[in-house]
């Protein structure tokens, strides 16, 4: 891999960091390598908004190689709300451009004494004044930076006003509307007074064996063009299965209290395709193109919402209009806040208002209600500007619950709001949410696909009935390891290539001679490393939990009467993982077997 650019914003110093060869081999890149690189700095007591907190933008060995949906990069650090390991990967073109500029990552520390942006041009770096950008939304900021640099082929990663103001679920955006939405790393960036990173480069993206890689890459992309799942994602976007999810009772409605949404036909990906969709958008070299371009009557072509945004503002808040949902998603994007956490936190507020735990005195006079898109719009403005009641909502659902003595009502795990794949419909997600290293996350393992039937036999991920319990725990663990490989490469989870094809691509790109088990071991190694980081940061077994709402069976819908038995699932999971059942820590033996002897020494000394 190429060097990582280290930037100390306190001193303005730039240095090149060369990644040790053995780390490149053992962790590949992306979130896995980031965990190894940041391990020594992520220690108990570190505050996410302190100058010492790191913020690492990192590519993987396949990023930008025009492989199968491999145009992504990842941002890692300490979660703004969770204060645990944080990673959030993002598509677009920025990461690829960084590689073309001669760096595989940017590692930020320190804090600037004024608003700045970082300009990386063909390996040359400069911090520039960002006073006139401060306060601008993510779209305007991208345009203004490009205008100032007078270059068309510049790609800019930015934060919006929410990141500047420390909203705990602030995102980082690039290439118009691509978002690293989860874990609040936009707020970490804002605390450093870093408004944007602009990159431009023209070098070739390094691949060890290009002759071997090129035909494999073509073969993989040809496969993806014929893949049923990829075809559905292209045609109807990530909300392709909204109807099916509702049918199964795995689409949460009215803040996770109901499972039937009568208007599901009006908010599905199919409905979007038949009404407001005008085109698709793609990340670098992606043949799937799951991004939506829509037109909603004002003549402007704009980003259309994906599944999580649709559910967050749709069924979750009982809004049944795709145009409203599109505009709410766009407003979140402009402020730079995560749509999952935003809808979840607003949903909790309405829920608490209904319970009488919140009153209009707390909300600045607002009488909170379901299904009111205008009210949600007003709340998003308040969150983005940290005004009025929005200043409380800006801290996320766990803090909102705590403030009103109702933490148990918040549908979150370890400070990260739950995404919209309900474990009562797809039980594997219960275990995924409870054990994810970054809080309740659907990208550390999109196990809902496995519960629908998407198996991957050659890595040991088989099919278990969607309401199976502890018998699927080991399967969930294997799927987490598999997706950890994806997150190290950094490859989109929609890239449905076979494990053999993937290991062939990795071997050609990295000059390795790995087998599938060796690749899976790299995934398992990084999963355990992230777990060890979290234990050092204070995580305990008791943190492997689900919120109350997810443990209460639905009264109706496709999953009526069912709830996960998390305790039994966890017991089986710890056995499968070889984790200590009393503390939840990876055992010393497991860590040593994975080549993590130094980590074992820290964790068990």
């Amino acid at each position: 891999m190429q060097p990582i650019l280290r930037v100390n914003l306190s001193t303005g110093e730039f240095t090149d960091y060369l990644i040790p060869d053995n780390w490149q081999r053992d962790y590949l890149g992306g979130a896995s390598l980031a965990a190894r690189l940041l391990y020594s700095t992520l220690t108990k007591g570190l505050e996410p908004f302190s100058p010492e907190a790191p913020l690492l933008f990192l590519n993987g060995p396949l990023s930008g190689t025009a492989g199968p949906a491999t145009g992504r990069f990842v941002v890692c650090g300490l979660g703004a709300a969770t204060k645990l390991w944080a990673e959030s990967n993002i598509g677009g073109f920025w990461g690829v451009e960084l590689r073309k500029a001669g760096f595989d990552g940017v590692w930020i520390t320190g804090r600037s004494d004024r608003a700045v942006y970082l300009w990386i041009d063909e390996g040359k770096c400069e911090l520039r004044d960002a006073a006139r950008l401060w306060g601008k939304d993510v779209y305007d900021t991208q345009s203004l930076v490009k205008e100032e640099l007078q270059r068309k082929s510049v790609h800019v990663a930015v934060i919006g006003p929410a990141g500047e103001r420390g909203v705990s679920y602030a995102s980082i955006c690039c290439d118009h509307g691509r978002m690293a939405g989860r874990t609040g790393l936009g707020a970490v960036m804002g605390a450093k007074k870093l408004k944007a990173i602009a990159v431009h480069g023209s070098r070739a993206v390094p691949v060890t064996d290009t002759e071997r890689y090129a035909p494999l890459r073509s073969q993989a992309n040809r496969f993806l063009k014929q893949d049923n799942e990829a075809k559905a994602l292209h045609e109807i976007g990530t909300a392709a299965a909204a109807d099916y999810s509702e049918y199964l009772g795995s689409m949460p409605v009215k803040y996770f209290s109901e499972a039937i949404f009568p208007s599901v036909d009006d908010i599905s990906g199919s409905h979007m395709a038949e009404t407001i969709l005008t085109g698709q958008s793609a990340c670098h070299a992606c043949v799937i193109a799951c991004g939506r371009v829509v037109q909603i009557g004002d003549g402007i072509k704009r980003k259309g919402p994906e599944y999580e945004t649709i559910c967050s503002f749709g069924p979750n808040l009982l809004i049944a209009d795709l145009v409203d949902i599109t505009l709410l998603g766009e407003l979140c994007d402009r402020y730079g806040i995560d749509t999952i956490s935003t809808g979840n936190t607003i949903g909790l507020a309405i829920h608490l208002f209904e319970m009488g735990k919140l009153t209009s005195e707390d909300t600045g006079g607002l009488s909170l209600r379901w299904g009111d898109a205008r009210q949600v719009q007003a709340l998003i403005h308040q969150i983005g500007n940290r005004e009025g009641f929005g200043d409380i909502l800006a801290e996320g659902s766990r803090e909102l619950g705590r403030r009103f003595k109702s933490e148990e009502e918040a549908v979150q795990v370890n400070g990260l709001e739950v995404a919209y794949h309900d474990p009562r419909g797809v039980s594997g997600m219960g275990l995924v949410y409870a054990t994810s290293p970054r809080g309740a996350c659907h990208n550390q393992s999109d196990y809902f696909f496995v519960d629908w039937g998407h198996t991957e036999e050659s890595v040991g991920v088989g099919f278990y009935e969607r309401h199976a319990q502890a018998e699927k725990s080991a399967n969930v663990a294997r799927h987490q390891d598999w997706r950890t490989v994806y997150n190290s490469l950094v490859m989109c989870i929609f890239s449905n290539v076979s494990p053999q094809m993937l290991v062939d691509l990795v071997n050609a790109a990295c000059g390795l001679g790995w087998t599938i088990p060796e690749m899976m071991k790299a995934g398992e190694r990084a999963w355990n490393l992230k777990r060890a980081i979290n234990h050092r940061l204070g995580l305990q077994r008791v943190n492997d939990k689900l919120p109350k709402a997810l443990l209460q069976p639905y009264k109706s819908g496709g999953s009526a009467g069912y709830s996960v038995n998390l305790d039994e699932m966890l017991d089986a999971y710890y056995i499968a993982r070889q984790w200590d059942p009393s503390t939840g820590k990876p055992t010393e033996k497991k860590l040593v077997d994975l080549g993590l002897a130094d980590i074992a020494a820290d964790l068990w000394s």
């Binding site: 014929q226 049923n228 559905a232 045609e235 109807i236 109807d243 099916y244 199919s270 039937g453 998407h454």
Partner: protein
């Protein structure tokens, strides 16, 4: 009466089942689309097998066993699978969603329409399983 797959009799039995199964009639009452199946030779199947079903609002209007490759070019869906995978679906060893998501069943046609009608598809498979006495 269940029938042996593959056979023209099996297809006819499936047609009757689809027309008289109350659950299917209800779930599929909005479905409009013809299915053209292509079963690739494998195991005991030595030649390509094709069959066609015209499904309309919870009923089956027409079936044809072994139509020509060129017949029904406007069928809403062309579904292709190996004989082994079809056998596994009919005997319940392979979940139809697994077949779709892992490309064991290859699909040509509107994904938007298919995805909003997954329950119909799953119930169609249930009917097909219930009319299958044996797979040769």
């Amino acid at each position: 009466m269940p029938a042996i797959f593959p056979s023209a009799e099996w297809l006819k039995t499936l047609e009757e089942k689809l027309n008289h199964d109350q659950r299917y009639n209800e779930i599929a009452n909005k479905w409009e689309g013809e299915l053209f199946f292509i079963i690739e030779p494998e195991l005991s199947l030595t030649e390509e097998l094709r069959f066609y079903l015209d499904l309309w609002h919870g009923t089956c209007r027409k079936v044809e066993y072994q139509p020509s490759q060129e017949a029904y070019p406007k069928a809403a869906y062309r579904l292709t699978a190996t004989y082994g995978h079809i056998r596994d679906i009919l005997t319940g060893k392979l979940h139809p969603m697994t077949a779709m998501l892992t490309n064991k069943l290859r699909l040509k046609g509107s994904m938007a329409y298919m995805m909003r009608n997954v329950p119909t598809v799953l119930d169609f498979v249930r009917c097909a399983q219930e009319v299958t006495s044996e797979v040769q």
